[in-house]
């Protein structure tokens, strides 16, 4: 079925915060089995884009279809049905602090399957093993490192063996070896089991290793998209600067002052007054 091969459809997506359009008319599709890597500078709207794709934020205009259903207009009830089919790794991990690592991974299984406790324990062990965290079941999230939290978040996202995985910077904060392990895992699931993946990544080595297609975001839109080879060969200087990580180039280092004034939803902070309070003039 050709219609079924299109798992995600984003069309004309616009999202404004105040007057500033963080996402401005974004359109792309993701086919079954693809691994799409989304790149772009910090703060350019990658996490915001993911939030719209999972239905956690509503767009100002435009539509998002997951598995052929438009989630921007669905009722909460119906979105839940779709959410069972995908997993999401948050940029912060978003583990439940009151539960142990094992309970976090077990949570979707306990809530959505009728498996026995023994079976669930086995699955939890297996999923934690996949991300290299065997034996950490009984620790609380605040007893493990940031990179470990990310990996637990990934194990939790994979608990229900989703057909679609969203992950927000799965390898940031990991050492090169662990990065390779997570990349291998993504590759294994994508190529072996046909899982579709949408991965936000800053890490170019990792991005080129796992991607079948790449999108680079910038200025609220899509700067470039294509296969890894096409991106590598791109003549766009912004893309070249980004993938080679150079400081000099067309991408501005900071928002200029003028651009900053357009951020009208950001209230100017009373620096002067605050300084007056802390450094009271004695003279």
């Amino acid at each position: 079925m050709p219609a079924d091969s299109k798992i995600i459809e984003v069309a004309g997506l616009v999202r404004k915060f105040g007057d500033r359009a963080v996402l401005n008319d974004i359109s792309f599709n993701v086919d079954r089995g693809e691994t799409l890597v989304i790149m772009g500078g910090s703060g350019c709207g990658k996490s915001t884009l993911l939030r719209h794709m999972i239905g956690a934020m509503k767009p100002t205009s435009g539509l998002v279809r997951l598995f052929g259903e438009e989630i921007t207009t669905l009722k909460e009830r119906e979105i839940e049905r779709i959410r069972l089919r995908f997993g999401m790794l948050f940029q912060s991990g978003a583990l439940l602090a009151s539960l142990t690592v094992g309970e976090n991974v077990a949570l979707p299984l306990l809530q959505h399957t009728k498996r026995s406790i023994d079976e669930i324990e086995d699955i939890v062990k297996q999923k934690l093993g996949m991300v290299g965290l065997t034996g950490f079941e009984n620790l609380k999230p605040d007893e493990i490192s940031g990179g470990m939290k990310k990996r637990v978040g990934l194990a939790r996202a994979l608990a229900l063996d989703p057909e679609l995985l969203f992950s927000d910077e799965p390898t940031s904060g990991l050492d090169p070896i662990m990065t390779a392990v997570i990349d291998e895992l993504t590759l294994k699931l994508a190529r072996g089991r046909g899982m579709t993946a949408v991965v936000v990544s800053h890490d170019m080595t990792s991005a080129f290793r796992i991607a079948t297609r790449m999108i680079m975001l910038g200025h609220g839109g899509i700067v470039a998209q294509g296969t890894p080879d096409e991106i590598r060969a791109s003549s766009n200087p912004e893309v070249q600067q980004f993938i080679h990580g150079e400081a000099d180039g067309p991408i501005p280092l900071n928002l200029s002052q003028e651009e900053h004034e357009h951020h009208q939803h950001v209230k100017p902070r009373p620096f002067a007054r605050a300084r007056g309070r802390f450094h009271r003039k004695t003279a």
Binding site: I54, R83, F90, S92, L96, P108
Partner: protein, 269 residues
């Protein structure tokens, strides 16, 4: 659900021009979906889990017991001493147990124990849910297709509805014990006399009215605390504000409601 939605819609419309429109609407919506998850959802096959309710009962109820006991005992002692002072001058010492008993069952028991539970559990619930909100945990639950109301609010609500009345009964006993301690040690009462007098004076309605109050207070406290926690925005500062808001609003609402209920129970009839 359509009736519930209609109710939420109607109540929201009537309050559209209220200054606290958004807050009130959130609060009503929370109540409506809470009722849905407790009363309707179990019949569609979505039972709430029992284990988290017991865990919350330990936090809200069992751990508060020592504080409740100390407060209730000192209130009982105070009431008996004040009663002795006033009633002795009238030569009516024999009515001291009546006064301790009735004041405790009708007013002091439910109100003071609600105050303790607001300070202990109301603030804790608001802070806990608020922290979960700012650290994306609530969003993560939603993305895992787990409803935060069902998963987080229902167990807290049910355990509060059980534990506050239970603590109130417990506190009433301890308070009466405090009155007994004063009467037996400092006044001319023996234990049997105190117990008989106390039992004779109080009617079952005195106990029931206090119980009804504490059930209403439990509802007010836990829904206000959960609502404050779930509507946190803006980091640790927001969590702090929500905690304060929860305590202040719950205290005010509880005290006003107490006056209203006393009026209905003992004045209007």
């Amino acid at each position: 659900m359509s009736n519930a939605e209609l109710l939420a819609f109607v109540s929201a419309r009537t309050l559209a021009f209220c200054a606290l429109n958004l807050q009130v609407r959130n609060y009503l919506q929370l109540n409506v979906s809470l009722l849905y998850w407790i009363l309707v959802a179990p019949f569609t096959g979505q039972f709430f889990k029992i284990a988290p309710i017991f865990r919350q009962m330990v936090f809200i109820g069992v751990r508060a017991a020592p504080m409740v006991a100390l407060t209730a005992f000192s209130v009982g002692v105070t009431l008996a001493m004040q009663a002795a002072h006033s009633l002795e001058s009238l030569g009516a010492e024999m009515y001291i147990p009546d006064l301790v008993m009735i004041t405790l069952l009708r007013e002091m028991g439910p109100v003071l124990i609600a105050v303790i539970v607001i300070g202990r559990s109301g603030s804790a619930v608001a802070a806990e849910l608020g922290t979960m909100k700012v650290s994306e945990e609530i969003e993560a639950l939603e993305v895992m297709a787990i409803n935060p109301i069902q998963f987080l609010v229902v167990p807290r609500f049910l355990s509060m509805m059980v534990m506050l009345p239970a603590l109130t009964i417990f506190g009433n006993y301890i308070g009466i014990l405090g009155g007994w301690a004063v009467c037996v040690s400092a006044l001319d009462f023996n234990t049997a006399g105190y117990v008989l007098r106390a039992l004779e004076s109080a009617e079952t309605w005195d106990l029931y009215s206090g119980m009804i109050k504490s059930v209403v207070f439990a509802w007010i406290i836990i829904t206000i605390a959960c609502n404050a926690g779930l509507s946190v925005e803006g980091g640790a500062e927001g969590v702090g504000q929500a905690t304060t808001t929860a305590v202040v609003q719950a205290l005010l609402a509880m005290l006003v409601m107490n006056a209203v209920l006393t009026g209905i129970f003992f004045f209007a009839a």
